[in-house]
Each structure stands twice: as C-alpha cells, then as structure tokens.
Amino acid sequence: MKDFKQLALGTAVALGVGLTGLMTPAAQAQDSNYVPLLTYRTGPYAGSGIHIANGMHDYLKMLNERDGGIGGVRLELEECETGYNAQKGVECYEATKGKGALVYNPYSTGITLQLIPKAGVDKIPVLSMGYGLSAAADGNVFPWVFNVPDTYWDGASVVIKYIGEQEGGLENLKGKKIGYLFLDAGYGREPIPLLEQLAEKYGFELLQYPVPGAEMQNQSSQWLNVRRDRPDYMVMWGWGAMNPTAVKEAVKIRFPMDKFIGVWWSAGDDDAAAGGEGAKGYKAMNFSGVGSDFPALADIQKHVIDPGLSSTDADTIGGTLYNRGVLNSVIIAEGIRTAQELTGKKVITGEDMRMGLEALNLDEARLEELGLKGFAHPMKVTCEDHAGSHPVFIQQWDGKKWQQASNWIEPMTDIVRPLLEAAAKDYAEKNAPWPARTEPCPN
C-alpha cells in the first residue's frame, strides 16, 4: 500500500512537471521574447562571472521595468547556471532552447565551441561578445555566430600594436621578449596562432606560460619562470581566480606592472585590487565603458537596483565586468529591436534574431539615444564580418580604480582578417560536411 502511494505521488509530480514544461513555451511564445542567460555565479570562475551576469540581467530587466520591454513586448529572462563548465552549458542549452530562445551568450569559449555546430541546426544564434572562436567572425562560414565587437585575434593584435607604440614602433619589437600567461584551456590557447604569426613578422620572442585550471591559485612556478626569463612585457589571457593570483604573483616578483597587460577579461576591478598598492600601473584592454556616469546606468539604479529587483551590490555598478555585461545586453536588445523592425513582428524567433544581429548598427547617435554616449566604440555588423574588428583601448589601474590610458586602438585588420578567413575555411573542412550559407543577408 505504501509503495502504491509513493508510486502515485511520484507519477503525479512527474506529470505536473511535464505538463508545466510543455505549457511554458506556448505561454512565452505568445506575449514575450524569451532570452536565456547562461551565467555562472558559483564555482572557481564566479568572481568574474557574477559581475557579468549582474550587468546582463540588470540592463534587460531595466528595459522591462522602464519601457515595458522592447517594442512593447516584455523580455522573459531566465538564468541557467553553467559553472563555466562546457557540459553544464550544453545541458542549459538543451533545457532552454525549446522555450523559444532568441540567442545564447555562453560566456565561455568551451561552451561556445560546443554550441557553434548546434546553432545552425536549431536556428538560434550564438552571441559570443569578444570571446569564443575567432574564425567565427567570418559570417559567410558562420552565419549563426556573432563575436562583435572583437575577436581574440583582434585583441592579440591590439596588445602587440600597443607594446610596439610603447617601444617607439613595431619595428623596435625585434629582439624583445613578450611573455604570454594564459589559462590552459580553449580560451587561453585561442590567440596563440596569431601571436606566433606576429612574433615571426616582428621578430620578438614569444614565451608561453600556461596555467592549468587546477593551478589557477598556485602560480608560483609560472612566475618564477617569468623572473628567470625576464620578458620585456607580459600579456595575460586569464579568467576567474587566475587573474587576481597572477596580479599578486607579478607584484611578488617585482615585475614592472606598467608592462603587464591583460586581455579585456582580465580587467576586473577585483582582479587588480587583489594586488594592493603594488598593483598600481597594471594595464588591461577594454572595449566597454569605465565608471557609472551614464544615464542608462542611472536608470538601472532607479528601476532595478533601488526597488530590489537585482542581486547587484550598488557599489559594483560601473565596474569593468559589470559594464561588460551591460554592453552584452545592449547588443541583445538592439538585435531584438532591429529584428522587430526588419520583420514587422513584435514577438520574434531565433531566425529573426539572427537577421537582427547581422544588421546591427550601433552608431554614436544610437548610443547617445540609449543613454550610453561614450560607453563603447560605435559598432556595426555585416553579413561578411560578424566581429567588425572594432577599436579597443588600454586602461590602467591607479591603485583604486581603472583609468583610460590610451586612445582607441584599431586592430591589425590587414593581418587578422586573412588569417580569420583561412581559419574559418579550415574549420569548415575539418567539420565537413559544413553547411554552405543559405541564409539571406538583411543588409
């Protein structure tokens, strides 16, 4: 009898869960645009992931509260915790794609690589903003993947260009040593082919220091190697707990911090602050606004933070990674708005969203209209170029906060673009039969 009761109860619960699952997409499809957010607020990478997740959530939530959504249609937001784990990321994708997902932001190169082959099959675009597979910038080969405003190869070319400027010209890099400290994962290894090409072209020696994921907080060996090799500059592709540890270790071996430059994902406020007074001078690339002095961020404060609709600590608004999350959601929102204009529909599909992203044109006027004047460099996506290779600036830690330390620096597009196209072709051949593009170009 007891077994029968348990069986009956279990069946009822299972049916309930199943019915809820079946009913949810229909309900969402009728009156809202569904945007799943793959985030990570737990685990070893939470230190970086939390700020990104907050920024992404808060901007879209603000649009709901202030404007009633986009084009009069509310956004249905749902976070799924990936823990920066590719397997969990794919599980999140599979669990949410049937709910009418418009776009995926994996926030992990590992997850992005898993989703790229699925995007075209499921007709849901992947937006890997400033990360993921660099070759995906080739829109003719990857019509469903967007990595605007820049690829890692763009970033790598900018950092070398900046170092060249510091040395009085790229020709002066000959004979120099540039160290590359990277998370030993798909993310950290991504820019190596380009860095090797640039090393050969400009005659500098590229010294590589991989940091295994399990050793993120145990980097003394890598930095002892740095001390012995005496590189002229250090470049870092770090994430999560790797960043603050690296900054501390650099301080510990007395490496000149103004010659230590991180990628835009190593530009968190906590990353630099961990090094204390000694971290003063540490630099990082950036493509999103510094500080909170923007009307859109004030709206987030007013409509989302103050009413208690977010888990964001008020003092983290305006932080580098928070603003990065905001910029990501600006691109999502503008993609939706553009798709609505192109299709005349209010509730759109993933296919519509793909067109919206492909026709994205975030110019200065539009940024000002959004309350984000100067928050990012104007950016434009074309059918051929899904990254756009937009300019990047260098920021520097003054001991308390980041300060812009350079003008906008253009990536070496002439070098990067042919390599990207060759890499895209190579990817398609290795993953044959890779479908030829049939999607119409909205531009």
């Binding site: 939470a46 190697n225 961990a274």
Partner: protein
C-alpha cells in the same frame, strides 16, 4: 636533447645560484602548504579509515567564514574565535548527522557521505557568503605582509615573502602541537586505539563518537590554518577546493595514516614539482607540475607501496 635533459638544468642551477635558492624556497613553502592540507586528510583517515573528500571544501568554508564574519563588522580576532566555534559545530554536526548513523557501514559508504558533505558545504557556503572571491584579512589578523630581498653577488636576488615565512612557522607549530596531542594526551592515545581497531577500542570503553567529533574538529582547525595561508597568497574562493586536492600525491607518498609522512611527503612534492617545472618543464612546453606530483608519488610507490611512513599491512591467509 640529451644535453637539455641531463646537463643543461644543472648548468642553470650553477650559473644562477640565487634563482636556484629561490626555487628551493618556493618549493619549501609549497611543500609546507601541501603538508598542511594533507594533515587534515590524515587526521580523519587515522580515526575512521575514510578519505575525507570534504577536506578541500572545509578549507574554503573555514576561510570564507572568517572573512565573511569580518566583512560583517566582527573584529578580526573575534571572527577567528567564532570561526573556530563554527568548525566545532560543524565537527559535532558531521559526527551526529553523517558519521554516527553510518557506523559499521563499508568504507565506500563513508566516502560517499563525505562527497555528499562536500556538495552540502559548497551550496551552503555559496548561499551564505556568495560566490565571489574574498580577500584574506591578513593584516587584521596580525600576519606579516611584504617581503625581504637578499642580494647575492652582483645580480643575485632572493625574495622572501613574510607571509610564506609565517606559513612555515605556523605549519611547524601545528605539527608539533598535533604530535604532542596524539602521543601525550589521553584523547590522543584513545584516537590511536580507534585507528588501530574500532571494535577493540569500543570494548575498552573508548567513545567512538567523541573521538570522531574531536578528530573532525582538529581537521577543521587545520583547514582554517590552511585557508588563511592559501587565502593570503591568492584569494579565498571556491577555486581553493581544487588546490586542496594537491594533497593527494602527498598522501600517496607519505601514507594516509602518518603525520610525519604528510610533512615529508609535502616537502618532497613541493621541491620536486618546482624543480621539475622550472628546470625540465620547458622541454615539454611547461605546465607540468599538475601531473608531475603524481609521477613522483608513483615512483616512490614502486619501492614502498604503503607510502614512506604508511603502515605495512600483512594479512596472513
């Protein structure tokens, strides 16, 4: 190639003696820290024969509790005392809720229970303290910061971090205290009796429950010390849980039941991985220390399967 393997590393050691000394120092510090983590595992294994999978997360949990209390306005030393109290409550709770109901169950069941405890502490820790890394309150606790540099010759330089020196001193003090506790006190002798044979210990009136609670508390204190030291070197974050598993090769090497084994094993692994990474790692692209420690442990196992200080068990058929 042969030159790179057999000659060049030693030439480098000779040419840059200050750097070699720095490598040795870093190896020593790493070894001491690994030994501290391994101590926590050894304590529980000695008392219950269980590999405590939760030791890594206990390090994180202790560190987060300390920093979290301080962030909420509790003075540093009071926060330290309260954290010790929290670890005592945790030990009592583990004994009552996890260990006691599982007495006489196969060891694999107890291992699974500690895995469950790990997930509970991860979730509970994130629920209470959030997932963001926190900076250790090193100065507030009166621990030294900064560094001292010693110049050797014209260009030689050795940099000693004060926190690393403090870690070494604290580790030595903890080992001595634990050695005295196990060898000179009644409870320590009782624990050794439990470690030898649970049923025999029970038959002479030793309370298994009390011993387990004490051992889990001692492991909690070791976790707290480890959390403070590792946290001061980087941050207190959930990534530290992964670092804690660096103790595995130390345990393989030193034996799961030996406190001196944990220390000696930790030092061998610490020195071995640093020297290996710095002088031979470059031959295979670097990043070898994460697996080199296991290779070192396995080489030792070929000659002493029970570990350097482990008990040799001979079962007669």
């Amino acid at each position: 190639m042969l030159y790179d393997i057999f000659i060049d590393p030693f030439v480098q050691m000779y040419d840059m003696p200050d750097f070699f000394l720095q490598v040795l120092w870093e190896g020593f510090v790493a070894g001491i820290l690994y030994a501290l983590i391994a101590l926590g595992f050894v304590l529980i294994f000695k008392a219950s024969g269980v590999f405590n999978f939760a030791q890594g997360i206990m390090v994180v949990f202790a560190g987060l509790t300390l920093v979290g209390l301080h962030e909420n306005g509790v003075p540093a030393y009071l926060a330290l005392i309260l954290t010790i109290g929290v670890m005592a409550v945790l030990a009592y709770g583990v004994e009552r809720i996890v260990m006691r109901p599982l007495v006489n169950q196969p060891e694999i069941i107890l291992l699974m229970a500690t895995i469950g405890l790990t997930y509970f502490l991860v979730g509970f820790g994130e629920f209470v303290f959030g997932g963001e890394p926190k900076q250790m309150i090193t100065e507030e606790l009166g621990l030294p910061t900064g560094s001292t540099a010693f110049e050797i010759g014209e260009r030689g330089l050795i940099i000693l971090q004060h926190i690393d020196i403090a870690a070494a001193v604290i580790a030595v003090v903890m080992v001595i205290a634990l050695a005295i506790f196990f060898n000179k006190t009644r409870i320590g002798r009782a624990l050794r009796a439990v470690a030898d044979d649970h049923q025999a210990a029970l038959s002479v009136g030793i309370s298994l429950n009390q011993i387990w609670a004490i051992v889990w508390f001692a492991a909690g204190l070791v976790a707290l010390a480890t959390g403070i030291m590792w946290g001061a070197r980087s941050d207190v974050s959930f990534a530290l849980e992964i670092v804690a598993f660096k103790a595995l090769p130390v345990l393989i090497l030193g034996g799961f039941t030996s406190i001196p084994g944990a220390i000696v094993g930790g030092l061998i692994i610490g020195f071995g991985e640093k020297i290996g990474e710095l002088y031979w790692g470059g031959l295979v692209g670097g990043g070898v220390e994460s697996w080199l420690a296991y290779i070192i442990a396995l080489i030792f196992l070929l000659f002493r399967p029970q570990g350097l200080f482990g008990e040799r068990i001979i079962e007669r058929i």
